[in-house]
Structures are given as C-alpha cells and as structure tokens.
Amino acid sequence: MRHAIVTEIWIFAIFGLGLNLLLGYTGLLSFGQATFFGSAAYVAGYLLKYYGIGIFTALGVGIGVGALSALVVGYLCVQRAGLYFIMLTFALNQLFYFIAYQWTSVTGGEDGMPGIPRPALLGIDFRQPLAYYVLVSALFLLSLWAMQRIVESPLGKILQAIRENEVRAEALGYNVPRFKLLAFVIGGAFSGFAGVLYAMLFGIVPLEAIGVVFSGNVVFATLIGGSGSLYGPIIGSVVFIWLSESVSVLWARWPLLLGVAFVIVVLFFRGGVVEAWSRIWRFSKRAS
C-alpha cells in the first residue's frame, strides 16, 4: 500500500475515535461529524494558505474550531433525544455544508479550497510522503492514547452509564445534557484535528469534507469495525479506506461491497469486526 493510503486510514481512524466516544460510549448517533471535520479543515486551511502558520498551530486551530463548532451544534442537539437528535445533527450538517457551498470567495465552493501547504518543521520537509506519514502515524498513536485515557477515566464511566440508563444517571446526580455536550466537544476536537491533517494530506479541502456523505461514511466505518470497543473505528477505517482506495480503481460500484458488509454486520455481528473476530477466536479455541 502507498504511504498516502495508510496516512488516510490513520486520519480517518482519528475521526472515527471522536465519533465513537458519542456513538459507542454515550449511545448518541451523530450524523453530523463532518461539520466539525470540515469547519476545522477550512479555517486551518485558510490560515495555512494565506497566513503561513506552522503545522502545530494549524492542528491547534483545528482542535479549537472542531471543539467550538461541536459546542454550538451539540448545545442545540442534546436538548432532544432519539430520532430528533439524529435529525438535528444531520440538518445542522446540511446548514454548514450550504454555507461552505455558497461562500465561494473563501471556501472555493464546489471546487474546494486548493493550495494548502504542508509547512516544514525543524528542517523536516513534510511534503515528502514518508515524512508526513510518520508524523500522522505518531499523531494517531497520540490520539489513541488520549482517547484511551478518556474512556478509562470517570468521564468514560459516566458516559457509558448515560448510555445504559439515562434516568438513573440523572437520579445519581449527573447533569446528563451537560455530559452529552462534553462528549460532543471532545468528539468535535478529534474531528477537527483529523480534518486539518486531511487538508494537509491532499493539499485541498474538498467540499465533500463538510458534507453529510462524509458524516455517514465515518458512522459506517465505525459500525463495521465495531462501536463497542476502542479499536473498532480503527479497524473500520482500515476496511473502509482500503476498499474505497483499492477496489474503487477496479470496480466503480464498490459501495455495493460496503453495503453487503454493512448488512452482514447489522444482521450477524452487531459488534462489528471486533465481535466477529472474538467469536471466531473463541470458536477455534473450543474446537482445538
């Protein structure tokens, strides 16, 4: 595999980690994660392009914009539950999409925002695919470590308690909407972080990066990998990006494969690849 594909997998996995804090741990299905991914990519991309900021400043901006946009969107969404919540995340994503679509002088509209540089740092030229791959890999591991700390912290327990039994969590003394909002903000920060890495990888912020299809893709990938575990979104990203980058060259109807994989997951392996693997593992151990 080319470096660029693996780099893209790691970036998508960071995006998935953020979603899974909502989906897997808190039980909130957000269909609007691209809002934070795209907003961060546009803002940091703009600053990279016209103001020549450094890589780490850009990533910091991405985290900030991701968290802030998630705070606004999340504040509106956590007031509602169930289907209304999902529809709100979706509708607000559409709103952001059309702002990006219309505001051509800044975002480039349908053409995207091209010409985003990868600034050198400490004499390392990140325009080299290998150098950028190493940087993204390191940042991915850092993100994974941070997310692991979060899900093993009291916050991780509280979010899971909310997923398991919202009424009881409230009765115990937890301000449930506030905790949902916190999960949103953290998820948004991860999305924004991934968005900036994505913009620098391709040198462009395509309009799709803020679109609902992109939001759907990360939900897809996370469910296929397994939303019940920390590593599910990573496995899901490997499957999703690998299929889209390699099979799509051979066969234009590749999303059909994805559809089949999704149906299999929903029907037989609600815990995704992670659960399928652990079942096969147990089965083979019993057989031997």
Binding site: S153, E164, E170, L172
Partner: protein, 249 residues
C-alpha cells in the same frame, strides 16, 4: 425540625390529580413509611421529592431549604438518594461499576474527570465496596448486573442508593417481586440501615411496614388520609375502610 418536608404538594397530569395537597414531615433518623393502594400516588410523590417531576403546586423543603423545582441531579447532590420500584441499574456494568458511578456522583471533587484512571480514586472505590458489602453483594462485585438474579438486582438497586452516602434514603418498594426468603433478607437489610439513615419507604407488604416503621402515612387517591405510629394506623377506622378493608375484601 423536619429534614424533609412537603407543603401542600400537588401534581396533576392533565385532568388526573396524582398527588393532591400533600403535607408530609420526615423527622431526621426515623423510618417513615408511605402506604396506600396501587395508584394512590406514592411513586409520583417520590418523583416530586427527588426532582424528577416539577410539582404543579406546593413546596418541598430539605433541611430548611426550599428545593422546589430544583432538578434531579442537583437534588441528588444535596443528599437525597432513591431506589426505584422497577429495577433500574446499569445492566452491562459490573456490580462494582454500578455502585462506583453512584459513589463518584457525590464525591466532593471531580478532579481528573477526563484523564485519571477510575481505580486511582481510592476513596470512591472504598465507598462503593462498602455499599456492596452493606447489601451482601461484595462477593459478586465483578459479575455483570444483567446476569445476577432478580433478588440480587433489588439488593444492587439499594446499594446504588447507599453508595451516594445520602442523608435521606427514599426506597420505592424494595421488596417488589421478591420471594418470601428474599423478602426476609431485604427486611433484615432495611432494618440494619434504620438509624444510620433517614429513610422514607414505600411498601405494599403490611407485615414489613408494621414491623419496621416509626411512622406511617397513608395515601388514598393522591391525598394523605392518616398519619401516625403503626399501632395508631392499625386502629384508624378510615384507614381500615380505605386500605386494609379493601385488601381483605
């Protein structure tokens, strides 16, 4: 002074008045039972006292402070813990995690909320284990809540309420659906907690009520129709007509 007090407390759902101008005073250190036929409004009264519903009229005072309209999670922090009539635990959690989140909710400091490991909160973990120990479930602390028996889930329900180290414990039919043997164990448990906590108890089983209560309030169609010691309640003709008589018939 009463620790928990309801003044002319009412709650209507449309045309139905579930709780009608109830006056209730819970003295500190006592076990105060609320009895009444099904649908008398007992659970609704609990939902009002714990802030799950906002009352339509009237006031609630806790430790002399007006807490009317305060939201449920804030009331929990003041020291009011409840158990639920229908088992209401975290099914996919271990027993220890069930009580751990309860203990953490009321711990004084949430420092490290986002990054400290849960095991590193020694005080919270000790409090959680104590609660499991109090209800006799410590040996099963690593089992999942959905895999233990119904009777044990009722005990866990109680442990979750205890783990918050409350000042007032509101128990909504802790013996609901228990076998005679499990009921005996639950009664022994409630009796052991008496004196350590101020307890408000909703129960249907009269033998439990009469043997553990200091005071009893009787609800009927949303209103309190009598209050007194167990002996007074047993003699009260109105109560006999409304409730005890109804059960004999």
């Amino acid at each position: 002074m009463a620790l928990l007090e309801a003044r002319e407390l009412s709650k209507s759902f449309g045309a139905l008045t579930a709780v009608n101008a109830v006056n209730l005073r819970i003295e500190p250190g006592t076990l105060h039972s609320i009895i009444g036929p099904n649908g008398a409004g007992k659970t609704t009264l609990f939902n009002l006292l714990t802030g799950r519903f906002a009352p339509s009229a009237g006031r609630i005072l806790f430790d002399g402070r007006d807490i009317t309209g305060t939201r449920a999670h804030r009331i929990a922090h003041l020291g009011l813990a409840r158990s639920f009539q229908r088992t209401n635990v975290f099914p996919a959690f271990t027993l220890l995690d069930n009580v751990w989140v309860a203990a953490f909710a009321c711990s004084r400091s949430w420092r490290g909320l986002l990054w400290r490991r849960t095991e590193s909160y020694a005080g919270v973990s000790a409090q959680a284990r104590q609660a499991l120990n109090d209800v006799g479930l410590i040996a099963k602390q690593s089992e999942l809540a959905r895999e233990i028996s119904h009777g044990e889930q009722r005990q866990l329900e109680l442990a979750i309420a205890l783990a918050a180290a409350p000042r007032v414990l509101l128990l909504d039919e802790p013996a609901a659906g228990l076998s005679p043997e499990e009921t005996r164990r639950m009664v022994a448990l409630v009796r052991a907690l008496k004196g350590r906590y101020t307890i408000v108890l909703i129960e249907h089983k009269m033998d439990i009520i009469m043997s553990v209560s200091d005071r009893i309030s009787v609800m009927h169609f949303g209103s309190l129709i009598a209050e007194g010691t167990p002996a007074e309640i047993q003699r009260n003709p109105e109560v006999r007509r409304a409730y005890l008589g109804g059960m004999a018939a």
